[in-house]
């Protein structure tokens, strides 16, 4: 057994024993409790060492470790070697476990917590789940032999945003288990007065980190994937959105219960379901059940039965316990008035939950319909159609709630309070209609988004004189208003055109003159940028979208180029690049060491290049050529790839002056190769770039909104953690 696996086994033993000790300590036995804590510290140490071990294997390029081989290579910079850690499933489970145990350190430091024994017991059960998956599918698994080089990192993941996205999401996932554990502890102990206070900061913390993860993921998608959007309602995205929505609902439920003692059952349910939804999302995206319905879902690692087993066990136990207790669970009746903060928050919880349910049903559509007959998926309009009205209503609630007192308000009083902001909003909305907002639901969405912004800003400004710490909620809602506005403008009012750009021929789009100038550095290995000159009056710049072949993904990658200005983004996405047709020279044969002059090139065949390359059973044969052209010497290595399926692929090599050389035949037994030279057509070689140019108005407002939401959630979490 390798060191890493050994550490994981020790970790599992530690988790099990400290869980049992914590359980035994729950009747107040101080001695067992201190034992439980000691074992916990030891367990954390094992997890820390296992994590450090995997990092070490990555940094030392230990390619015998299958996981290191599969996700890294020697040419990766330090930064991306670190992020290779979470490039695959096994590593993300280890990261999740490590963060989980790290957060647990904060939980056990708490003194005089009646629920601590049970909470830690349930919390550690969650870590057992992760450890079982890790031992079943270990990141430390060894290969039979040692490959000389790793496969490298998926080029899509070579991005600073992608380095931080997975850790953020997994901090959120790990933290959601805390309110879950507290809820179960409260149910088992049948004591409900402290769990809210203890877990409120953690709920805020998961909303913050998971939210940040979602936003960073969106920003990455926009910047790297090149389809022009930031959110695609893909199962992988939805899997983190759904628990985020319920967690946000839970934040509001907690605040109601703290102030009003109502919603006890709802909060227990939301705390439990948020965690179960994480498990369910993990199952959806990691089991391969959606493989036919998503481009992104992870492949099946054979963990299905484990994932289902834990999902069923956790659901049955936690929901069963809640139902068992629910008959005797009493909470205060909520107030009578409809026009009150209390009711607005309640409605907010209902609508956030509704949104979660609708997204959940959509994401699970293939499974649900699979039971009834033909497995079917829902299309993106389903999500938009169902969530737009919810967003509008949430906008209405968020606009009014800053002016609503907890208890009750008369219509007259409320009208007086909202008159000023409403007037402002109406003026802005009139401007919006003049500038082209015609669709009714878009108008309503815009109207209330601006209302949210103005209303919360007014109250935020007034409260600022008190304590900044108490303004987290208003700040978050200001951010929501901004984000909603940005979502509307960038989706409904984004415009785009597709342009066919032959090299050197200027075309117009959005008042800009675009000219394709060819590839920046055609022989570059990583694929070169395509240069597009963009001009509008004095504004003159070069856009550099990229289209390149990824050896790792065996796919063409397209990377957009984005021109940012304060008001909008210009988004250049390459769609197709045709290098024009080649005219071929006659095929000519060369023996090793022989030299011939063809089309002005002196070509000498040096040797075969049989370096292992490409995927699995593919075989690649290259011919190393020495090329002299106009007195300059260089080498070129055209190749043929014999693919497993029996297909043969030619990989040409670039020659000076933009021509290429193809390897036509290999006669290994005679040490000979047959080659041909491909020449580009005349005038720019017929090179054409198909480019999509889009305008994304006010996208910076969207990003600004997400940042403000994060700041607001941070303040809220900070404040609540001081109250514990």
């Amino acid at each position: 057994m390798v060191l890493g696996d050994f550490l994981l086994v020790l970790c599992l033993l530690g988790v099990v024993f400290s869980a049992l000790f914590f359980l035994l300590s729950s009747n107040g036995d101080k001695k067992i409790l201190s034992w439980a804590k000691k074992v916990y510290y030891l367990t954390f140490l094992f997890a820390l060492l296992a994590t450090a071990d995997l990092f070490y294997l990555f940094l030392t390029h230990n390619f015998q470790t299958s996981y290191v081989y599969g996700y890294s290579s020697t040419d990766l910079p330090f930064f991306y070697l670190i992020s290779s850690f979470w490039a695959g499933q096994e590593g993300t489970f280890l990261l999740w476990l490590f963060i989980g145990l790290l957060l647990g350190l904060f939980l056990i430091r708490k003194k005089d917590d009646l629920l601590q024994g049970h909470t830690m017991f349930f919390y550690l059960l969650v870590q057992v789940f992760l450890l079982v998956l890790l031992l079943k599918k270990s990141p430390f698994e060894l290969l039979a032999d040692i490959p000389p080089e790793g496969k490298g990192l998926n080029p899509l993941l070579k991005d600073p945003w992608m380095v931080s996205h997975p850790p953020l999401v997994f901090i959120g996932y790990a933290a959601i288990a805390i309110p879950f554990a507290y809820a179960l502890a409260a149910l088992v102990k049948n004591k409900y007065d402290t769990w809210i206070k203890s877990s409120l900061p953690w709920v805020g913390f998961s909303a913050l980190t998971l939210g940040a993860g979602i936003f960073v993921g969106g920003f990455w998608a926009y910047k790297v994937l090149g389809w022009g959007g930031y959110w695609g309602w893909d199962p992988v995205e939805n899997a983190s959105l759904i628990p985020w929505l319920t967690t946000v609902a839970l934040v509001h439920g907690f605040i109601l219960e703290k102030n009003k003692n109502s919603l006890r059952k709802t909060n227990l349910f939301l705390a439990i379901i948020s965690f179960l939804l994480i498990l369910y999302g993990t199952f959806l995206t990691r089991s391969g059940v959606l493989a036919d319905f998503s481009v992104h879902s992870f492949a099946d690692l054979g963990l299905n039965q484990y994932l289902i087993f834990f999902l069923v066990i956790f659901s049955a136990f936690s929901l069963g316990l809640l139902i068992y207790r629910s008959t005797k669970l009493k909470s205060a009746e909520s107030g009578k008035s409809v026009l009150s903060q209390e009711f607005a928050v309640l409605l907010g919880i209902i609508f956030l939950s509704l949104s979660a349910v609708l997204v959940l049903i959509g994401t699970s559509a293939p499974i649900i319909t699979g039971f009834l007959g033909k497995a079917s998926n829902v299309t993106v309009p389903y999500y938009i159609r169902t969530n737009l009205p919810i967003a509008i209503i949430l906008g209405l609630l968020l606009s009014l709630s800053p002016f609503l007192p907890w208890k009750e308000i008369t219509v007259k009083e409320l009208t007086r309070k909202i008159a000023l902001p409403l007037g402002l909003v109406i003026i802005v909305s009139i401007i919006a209609v003049i500038s082209g907002v015609r669709n009714l639901s878009y108008f309503l969405f815009f109207f209330f988004s601006v209302f949210v912004l103005v209303a919360n800003f007014i109250v935020f400004y007034r409260r600022l004189k008190g304590k900044l710490l108490n303004t987290g909620g208003y700040l978050t809602h200001i951010g929501i208003g901004l984000m909603f506005i940005g979502i509307l403008t960038t989706s409904a009012y984004s415009r785009s055109v597709k342009l066919n750009l032959p090299k050197g021929e200027p075309k117009e789009a959005f008042g800009y003159q675009l000219t394709f100038r060819g590839e920046e550095n055609p022989s570059s290995k990583d694929g070169s940028s395509l240069l597009v000159e963009v001009k509008k009056g004095k504004d003159d710049f070069i856009a550099r979208p990229r289209l390149y072949w990824s050896e790792y993904s065996q796919a063409m990658m397209r990377e957009p180029s984005i021109r940012k200005t304060l008001g909008e983004d210009l988004y250049f996405a390459p769609m197709e690049y045709s290098q024009g047709d080649f005219s071929f020279s006659e095929t000519f044969e060369l023996a090793k060491g022989q030299e011939k002059e063809v089309e002005g090139y002196k070509i000498k065949f040096l040797s075969f290049d049989m370096a292992p390359h490409g995927q699995g059973g593919d075989m690649r044969v290259g011919a190393v050529l020495e090329v002299s052209y106009q007195g300059k010497k260089g080498t070129a290595t055209p190749a043929v790839v014999f693919e497993e399926q029996g297909k043969i692929k030619q990989i040409e090599a670039t020659l000076p002056d933009n021509n290429v050389v193809f390897l036509e035949r290999v006669m290994a037994d005679q040490g000979m190769v047959a080659l041909s030279i491909g020449k580009k057509g005349q005038e720019g070689g017929g090179e054409t770039l198909l480019l999509e140019v889009s305008k994304k108005p006010l996208i910076n407002i969207l990003w600004l909104g997400t940042i403000i939401i994060m700041v607001g959630l941070f303040l809220m979490t900070w404040r609540r953690s001081k109250e514990v």
Binding site: G70, A87, D292, V338, T369
Partner: protein, 121 residues
């Protein structure tokens, strides 16, 4: 008290019905080529790409290709979006859309490539 309950339950009911209707309307079942031709709603078809039939119409920005099902039947597909990244390498391709005037007009194409986020063994 009553009014609040009525409002809350009313909202939930409205959304349940609304959600169910949208769900049904936007559901796209996987069907065979024959069924796709006779269907009036959006469906998903899956098949192997016939490499020779793939072409990009640069003038109209349309991408044409053909799919072959296990029985060897062919279906012409037209797509006006971007050709998916690993189209050429994909063992099979899913097209979501409607059959109109002799071609399957796709709104979305999914390329089946399990190795996308998983490095393989």
């Amino acid at each position: 008290m009553k009014l609040k309950y009525i409002i809350s339950i009313g909202i939930i009911l409205i959304f349940v019905v609304f959600g169910a209707l949208s769900f049904r309307r936007n559901l796209t079942p996987y069907v065979g080529f024959k069924e796709a031709m006779s269907s009036n709603t959006s469906v998903q078809i899956i098949g192997e790409v016939i490499p020779e039939d793939t072409r990009y119409d640069l003038e109209n920005h349309q991408f044409y290709f053909s799919l072959k099902d296990p029985k060897g039947e062919k279906m012409k597909v037209v797509f006006s979006g971007v050709k998916p990244a690993n189209f050429e390498q994909a063992p099979s391709v899913v097209a979501i859309g409607k059959y109109q005037d002799g071609v399957f007009s796709a709104d979305q194409i999914l390329v089946k490539c399990p190795s996308k986020y998983q490095g393989g063994k």
